[in-house]
């Protein structure tokens, strides 16, 4: 599958974090991006747009990332969700993984880690 054919939902309350992730991904192609600014927005946008891949921050307003993962997974058990977070102890991360997160990247975001995740996802499709 080509990167141009997929939709990526980036959910982070920081406009900067969203921009950085988008900028990195755009170095390898131009997927359709959807942005969400909090956990509830991520759930709503997921249902509206059915993205192929989701990047999600853990600490966000309204609903935090771990709750958003659970709700998205309940709605679509096949959702591919990657945690992108600087904040979080192992306990929080464990909750996120148990809720169904597929992968995680740690901020400050490492470009290679993001590219690797997107490329692996494309290979698997």
């Amino acid at each position: 599958m080509h990167i141009e054919d997929i939709k990526i939902l980036i959910s982070d309350d920081s406009v900067l974090a969203r921009k950085q992730l988008k900028d990195i991904i755009m170095t390898i192609g131009n997927p359709t991006f959807i942005e969400a600014v909090d956990g509830q927005d991520a759930i709503d946008k997921y249902k509206e747009t059915a993205p192929d891949l989701v990047f999600l921050d853990i600490v966000m307003p309204r609903k935090d990332g771990t709750i958003a993962i659970k709700e998205i997974k309940e709605y679509d058990p096949h959702a591919t969700i990657v945690i992108a977070s600087s904040v979080g102890t192992q306990a929080q991360l464990k909750v996120a993984i148990e809720a169904g997160a597929k992968d995680f990247i740690q901020k400050p975001i490492d470009r290679n880690q993001v590219i690797e995740i997107v490329e692996k996802f494309l290979e698997g499709r």
């Binding site: 309350d13 920081s14 406009v15 900067l16 974090a17 921009k19 950085q20 600490v59 966000m60 307003p61 977070s85 600087s86 904040v87 979080g88 102890t89 192992q90 306990a91 991360l93 464990k94 993984i97 148990e98 992968d103 995680f104 740690q106 901020k107 400050p108």
Partner: protein, 304 residues
């Protein structure tokens, strides 16, 4: 490099695979940490000594501590000290890998040393001795300002903050004398609350031009005016700093603190109900004001 999550550290250094890590994180139980793992972590026993005691345990029905004392690896006091020690949360994960035979005790000893040297970044590790002296003096002067010593967490918090300034913004700053304040008129200001046994609200404030330069340095991109990206960069900085702080606290003594969402301050005047301290930092491009409003502290005899 930032190794906030021990799991991420293991992964990046290829000590374990992603599958092994996820598996261990799910298995990771609240079982009591083993004395041998703790002894390695505290530097009281080598991995070889721990392995020797474990082998001996297979043919003598005695506790690890008893055998370690008999062998002269630990003293009675050291065993008691280990039994009372607070367990850093990352050790639990580390032990799961040993239990699963993915890592040996020797691997564990090496990895712990490496992880600690990379992640415990709140010790002052400034490149310039002058800078270090200035900041040490600032901490010493704190007593004069507040009539109470800086608490353990307060010192850890400020040391990490100055280190993060150096890492992300640059070393060309001078910390000015701090002062106790009851109110403050912010310009471009972001704030975030740390909640838990050490509860503090941190404000980072500066004028518009300083904010543009601060954000440019932080992101590594040249901003030309104060816009939403500049404002988000300040929030990102404070969030990153506090994120590292709570993970360091969790790693050090298994105390879990939480973070609120960072936000831009809109009030023209901040009035502090609790004790608040202003630490201005003068950069070559402007002054950055750090304000700590201390809500709760783990000990009664210190105030920040």
């Amino acid at each position: 490099m930032y190794s906030q999550f021990f799991g991420n550290f293991l992964l990046i250094n290829k000590y374990v695979t992603k599958e092994q890590l996820f598996d261990a994180m799910q298995k990771q139980s609240n079982d009591r940490i083993k004395l041998g793992t703790l002894a390695i972590s505290e530097g009281l026993m080598t991995a070889e000594e721990v392995d020797e005691v474990i082998i001996q345990q297979t043919h003598e029905d005695k506790k690890f501590g008893e055998l370690a004392i008999e062998q002269g690896f630990l003293t009675n006091d050291e065993v008691l000290q280990l039994l009372k020690a607070q367990v850093p949360s990352f050790l639990q994960l580390a032990q799961t890998f040993v239990d699963e035979e993915i890592l040996t005790n020797q691997d564990l000893a090496n990895i712990i040393t490496e992880y600690r040297s990379e992640s415990e970044i709140y010790d002052l590790d400034f490149t310039s001795d002058d800078q270090k002296d200035t900041i040490e003096k600032l901490f010493d002067n704190f007593f004069v300002m507040s009539e109470t010593p800086l608490s353990h967490y307060g010192r850890m918090y400020l040391e990490l903050l100055f280190n993060n300034f150096i890492r992300f913004i640059g070393e060309d700053f001078t910390p000015l004398d701090g002062s106790a304040i009851t109110e403050f008129a912010p310009e471009k200001c972001v704030c975030q609350k740390v909640i838990g046994d050490y509860s503090v609200v941190t404000y980072i404030d500066m004028d518009e031009d300083t904010a543009v330069e601060f954000a440019s340095r932080y992101v590594g991109d040249q901003f030309s005016e104060y816009d939403e990206y500049v404002s988000a960069s300040l929030e990102d900085f404070i969030n990153l700093h506090n994120g590292v702080f709570i993970v360091n606290v969790s790693n050090e003594d298994n105390t879990d603190l939480e973070l609120d969402i960072p936000y831009g301050v809109k009030d023209p005047l901040l009035i502090f109900d609790k004790k608040a301290y202003l630490f201005p930092v003068m950069y070559s491009f402007g002054v950055v004001n750090i304000i700590l409003e201390v809500i709760k502290i783990e000990t009664e005899d210190s105030e920040v």
